[in-house]
């Protein structure tokens, strides 16, 4: 019982991070119909930016946790968005209008490039960061097992919920959100209404990267270590989350992220911690086989 509660907390935390990354996959798929395989590596880059800025701030003697968190978040979001923009501009836009496979291959190339770039410039070893947010609340103890809610977990969940609320508002209520959605439905018609479609696509990439950046910062705070390969695994899991929720659906990405996080946590606790990644990939295969449109995907009938 206590273990289950603890894994529920851990799973929700993990799921929040996957959800944030999954939104980037699903939005890009929605607007240009490609899987951005470099998205996980964008998240990895942001984790490295976070490590760098945390270390810098510490060396300046800034010890206020809220202040350093805020600065790191802003810097990471800013630079990671630029990465997102650059990846689209250099690797995908030139291939627009060519075959569907071309940008996909380009994305894999971009992913390898980012991994190698970080490996070369930052080293292949695991990079630790001094604990930023330590401590937590002991919720209850049963049979000597204490269920603990770490402050970093609270931070992750609160930030994620706030971001998702803001993001939902942005997509459903603002002019940019409408343009983003109209591009998903009919890009040519959107251009005919005077909207710069390329710009909307660029902004979509930046937005996805910004959310991944927040996930990267959160994970750095949570685990305290990063390496150049974290983007691959997290990327594939978030991609699975997006597929599980229904690729192209924003609420689906959020839901899928949560589910993958929970499944992974419980699998690790009750079945096998070593094989926890198997759980995710089993789900990916099952969903693709039996329900390719995902949980909230849209095989919708429309009058034309």
């Amino acid at each position: 019982m206590a273990l289950a509660l603890q894994q529920l907390i851990n799973g929700l935390t993990l799921g929040a991070v996957y959800g944030l990354i999954a939104i980037g996959y699903t939005m890009v798929y929605g607007i240009i119909g490609m899987i951005n395989f470099a998205h996980g590596d964008i998240y990895m880059v942001s984790a490295f930016i976070a490590v760098t800025v945390f270390t810098l701030l510490a060396s300046f003697g800034i010890s206020s946790v809220p202040l350093s968190l805020l600065v790191v978040l802003l810097v990471a979001v800013f630079f990671t968005s630029i990465y997102g923009w650059t990846v689209e501009r250099t690797a995908y836009r030139p291939l627009r209008g060519s075959t569907r496979l071309a940008p996909l291959i380009s994305a894999i190339g971009m992913s390898i490039f980012l991994q190698n770039m970080v490996q070369l410039t930052q080293g292949a070893r695991v990079k630790p960061v001094a604990p930023v947010l330590v401590g937590g609340i002991d919720i209850l103890t049963i049979d000597g097992f204490t269920v603990r809610l770490a402050y970093s977990q609270v931070l992750i969940v609160v930030v994620t919920v706030a971001l998702m609320a803001g993001f939902t508002w942005l997509i459903t209520k603002t002019s940019f959100g409408r343009q983003q959605r109209s591009c998903e439905q009919d890009r040519t018609m959107t251009a005919l209404l005077g909207i710069n479609v390329d710009r909307t696509i660029s902004l979509t990439f930046m937005l996805g990267a910004a959310l991944a950046a927040v996930a990267g910062v959160m994970v750095t705070v949570y685990y305290g270590v990063v390496d150049f390969f974290i983007g691959f695994v997290a990327g594939i899991k978030a991609f699975t989350a997006a597929v599980l929720g229904g690729i192209g659906s924003l609420p689906g990405a959020m839901l899928g992220g949560l589910l993958i996080g929970l499944i992974e946590a419980f699998w690790a606790a009750y079945l096998s911690a070593e094989y926890k990644d198997v759980a995710t990939f089993t789900i990916l295969i099952l969903v693709l086989m039996f329900r390719p449109s995902g949980l909230l995907g849209r095989p919708e009938v429309e009058k034309v």
């Binding site: 002019s175 409408r178 343009q179 959605r181 109209s182 439905q185 009919d186 040519t188 018609m189 959107t190 251009a191 005919l192 209404l193 005077g194 909207i195 710069n196 479609v197 919708e300 429309e302 009058k303 034309v304």
Partner: protein, 246 residues
């Protein structure tokens, strides 16, 4: 001169769809372009927006050469299109579709323009929170026209607005075309298969065949022209293109 096409060639994939089209629209005119299915009418409309881009020839709007401009920049010059097949955004509400049309307009005009559209098309007000994809064909056409008007264009392009609509809606569409031109001074280029209606509402008309303009004249002249009559009017009367979908 509001719009002037000179020697426009365009390719649609491997198909050479337009073979040197010359066409002009003056301020305040309703000009119609009639022709059979596959004559290149829609390609011509889209070529004005650079989709596909004219492979040779020039498109001049309001004195400016717009041939090479990106599509959204052409729209920003003040041309709005009601495309073939309407192309409303089906998963957005009626209101959101109208907001999309108003992206280029001044924000301060929005409420006024919205009210104007609701007066013109009362059905849209009733349906304003409904998903556009759930509207009937005729209602979708009204929405597509309203969306185009929300940007307050100088030139309105209508591509087969009566296609597939019930007779009642066809009547309404042509009535609105006439009204927009007469009461609001809107300049309109109208592509139609329904040649009879189109020529009656238009000041001038062009006949497009195999990507070339083969005839032009005032609406009345073309209506009286025996060739036009044989090719586009009698057939059109015997078997109206309008199959009620709504």
């Amino acid at each position: 001169m509001m719009l002037q096409l000179s020697g426009v060639h365009a390719h649609y994939g491997a198909i050479h769809a337009l073979h040197g089209v010359d066409l002009s629209v003056q301020v305040g005119e309703v000009v119609t372009l009639i022709g059979a299915n596959g004559a290149g009418k829609s390609t011509l409309m889209m070529a004005i927006f650079g989709q596909p881009r004219a492979s040779s020839g020039r498109v001049v709007f309001d004195g400016e050469d717009i041939t090479g401009l990106p599509t959204h920049e052409i729209a920003r010059r003040g041309i709005a299109l009601v495309p073939e097949g309407r192309r409303i955004f089906p998963r957005m509400t009626v209101m959101e579709n109208l907001q999309m049309g108003a992206v280029l307009g001044e924000e301060t005009n929005f409420e006024v323009d919205l009210k104007r559209m609701y007066t013109l098309f009362p059905i849209l007000e009733e349906r304003c929170t409904q998903r556009a994809g759930t509207l009937s064909g005729g209602e979708q056409q009204m929405l597509a026209i309203a969306r185009a008007l929300m940007s307050r264009p100088q030139l309105l392009l209508l591509d087969e607005p009566s296609l597939g609509l019930a007779p009642l809606y066809i009547k309404k569409i042509f009535q609105i075309v006439r009204e927009l031109n007469r009461d609001h001074g809107m300049t309109i280029l109208l592509v139609e298969q329904n040649a009879h209606h189109a020529l009656r509402v238009a000041h001038r008309g062009y006949v497009l065949q195999h990507g070339q303009i083969i005839l032009s004249g005032t609406g009345r002249e073309l209506l009286a022209n025996p060739e036009v009559h044989a090719a586009y009017l009698e057939g059109g009367h015997a078997a109206p293109a309008a199959q009620p979908a709504a």
